[in-house]
Symmetry: C2
Subunit: 388 residues, 2 copies
């Protein structure tokens, strides 16, 4: 006779799901993460870094989270040529065709649209793709997997599907998704129609949103059938759709890819997928939202980074790196990144942010975390492109 | 015919004086400068650094200031064996007999007493010595030279002479000298008797001192005939006086010096010259003060260091080092020492103190300048003696 405890499986929290047939994840890996400078650089952006001390970079964490839903062949990373080698090195489990290198950045519509067109070429137009940025941090894998699974079902019903994050505060740092009535699609019981999207609101507006119960944070996660996406795009921006289809048709032909890319890529319209697809299609009733209850963070600045790190000592400091290198004296709440092997002392500066790297040092406070971009701009103006 | 401008000498402000016959300067070069850590270290204390951006270290500046009064042979530097080589390298103008290396630190009475005993051996007891710490910064050379010249005259009248610094504020960081009536010694018209010395007072007491007009800051500058000093010492601390005389008698005998040092030095009384001589002799009426009107600073911490550096930009920051390495954004009054060649950004921390060295980084504020010693203590407790 075994006890109930011995009979239960080892883990009940994050039992990995089975891969979903015909589902592919697209991971746009771009953006310099300027507000995390000098940790994040143009040449080594934040998605290539382990920012949470888990031993995995944000990119690796993103792929780790998706593989159980897609299987090993079901992840496609879209990044710039500059980072393709680093991305490939960090993801040895991916095959050669699973890292798409853009010749230059042409915003999220071109990146996700190219992925959709390539997947449609390879697997047909009914394949469902889900787009998940490479630099997000998510807790509660079960909640994430559950939302994505519902999202795939809603996408199969022909919708462009977003995943809405439950707003825990009236944040002014995120855009919001406004939900309407239930979608009623099979396999997506919690999905709702989307009435519209909003840009980052002011605090009062955000508080009003929360009071209605109809708003979710927009984390930029989209799920849609490749053919549906390309059809929407063909209606909204025909030249962009045609260009992406032409490139995709040549993508897996080593003899033609570079020539078509060279001819077509530079002329593609630079636009975010939100403006190109999500907003106009939502206005026409074609967008759905699946509410997600998991914890999500885009690690936008050092203040949000701090919240992801464990508190140290009685003063609640945070360290990304070797704690033995850090001494805090009357410096409660300070965030230290001892990234150059040197001993760092913070004395009498509460909520300080000290980021120590081999060639650049940043000293600021958590309250100034959003202003770090100014430092990058300043060094650029001084001609110190080596620091950017 | 030449114009008056062409006929006048190049500089009227600091025309160097002639050397004073029979006057020798003693420069105690010791102390770790803990409150200037990590710029100042045990192995490389503050007097070995150029802290004012003049291109000369504090030690070199001290000797530069004294040589016009003493001539090239008239300066004797007393330092620890650990620093003797660095001192000699920084002062190539001094001869081999002009750097005295103590086997271990035994406080200021042993250091200055040994110098006095060596000078008495070499030049007789009537030689006047003046003691000037190696880590002070003085503006207005004419004022300094004038005070020293009066001080030598007062010393020749048999007094232990201090130079009092005109107090510009009720500082609690310095001890004070209380003056009594005029001394009336030949060649020292402004000299006065000293009624006594006080330790660092509290703010209220200091304000009371200033109101009387009879108090000067005690900068620890003493002038006295070698024989007078040694006689006072023989009365106050006979074993210390005898030990120093024994060492001095063997000092210039290469065959005997080390043996006598090894036998005698470790047993010498550790005491400051203030307690050993200045206070008891003042009580007996044997101490005089010459008021000095020059600007003086002992560069005790990063706040006082800041005051010695030129203000940078509209925000009045201060930089010790290469200004091109520093970017300040909303960081008025911040003090930056970019001492590791790295780009330093200070964003939103007013009056910040950022000291960047190859192995240690300090981030604090000017208001915490006196607390920097805690950082040194903290690293010592962690066993990081390599940082001290």
């Amino acid at each position: 006779m075994s006890s109930p405890a011995a009979a239960s499986p080892a883990s009940s929290a994050s039992s990995a799901p089975r891969p979903i047939d015909g589902f592919h994840a697209v991971v746009p890996a771009g953006g310099a993460g300027t507000r995390l400078w000098p940790l994040s650089r143009q040449g080594s952006p934040k998605f290539l870094h382990d920012l949470t001390g888990t031993g995995r970079t944000l990119l690796q964490g993103t792929v780790d989270r998706l593989l159980p839903l897609t299987g090993r062949d079901g992840v496609l990373v879209v990044t710039g040529v500059r980072h393709a080698q680093a991305v490939t090195a960090q993801l040895p489990e991916l095959g050669a065709g699973q890292v798409v290198a853009e010749p230059s950045p042409r915003d999220s519509m071109a990146a996700i649209g190219l992925a959709a067109a390539i997947l449609a070429e390879r697997h047909g137009p009914d394949v469902v793709l889900g787009s998940f940025a490479a630099d997000h941090v998510i807790d509660d894998l079960d909640g994430f997997w559950s939302a994505v699974t519902e999202g795939v079902a809603a996408a199969r019903a022909g919708y462009v599907v977003t995943i809405g994050i439950t707003a825990t505060e009236p944040s002014t740092a995120f855009g919001y998704i406004r939900a309407a009535g239930p979608l009623g699609a099979e396999g997506a019981p919690s999905a709702r129609h989307v009435a519209g999207f909003t840009e980052k609101p002011d605090a009062e507006t955000a508080a009003g949103y929360l009071a209605t119960g109809d708003y979710w944070w927009n984390a930029g996660m989209f799920l849609v059938q490749a053919g549906v996406l390309l059809d929407h795009l063909a209606r909204q921006l025909p030249p962009l759709a045609a260009g992406l289809r032409a490139i995709a048709a040549a993508w897996d032909d080593a003899g033609r890819r570079d020539a078509v890319l060279a001819e077509t890529w530079p002329g593609l319209t630079k636009i975010a997928i939100d403006h190109a697809i999500a907003e106009p299609v939502a206005a026409a009733g074609g967008v759905a939202v699946v509410p997600g209850s998991f914890t999500w963070d885009d690690v936008g600045d050092f203040d949000s980074l701090a919240a992801l790190l464990p508190a140290v000592g009685v003063e609640g400091g945070r360290t990304l790196g070797e704690e033995a290198l850090v001494q805090r004296l009357d410096a409660a709440g300070s965030v230290v990144v001892p990234g150059a092997g040197r001993a760092v002392t913070v004395l009498g500066v509460r909520d300080a942010v000290v980021v120590d790297t081999p060639d650049a040092l940043l000293v600021t406070t958590r309250a100034h975390a959003q202003a770090v971009k100014q430092a990058v701009d300043g060094w650029r103006e001084r001609g110190r492109d080596d620091l950017l």
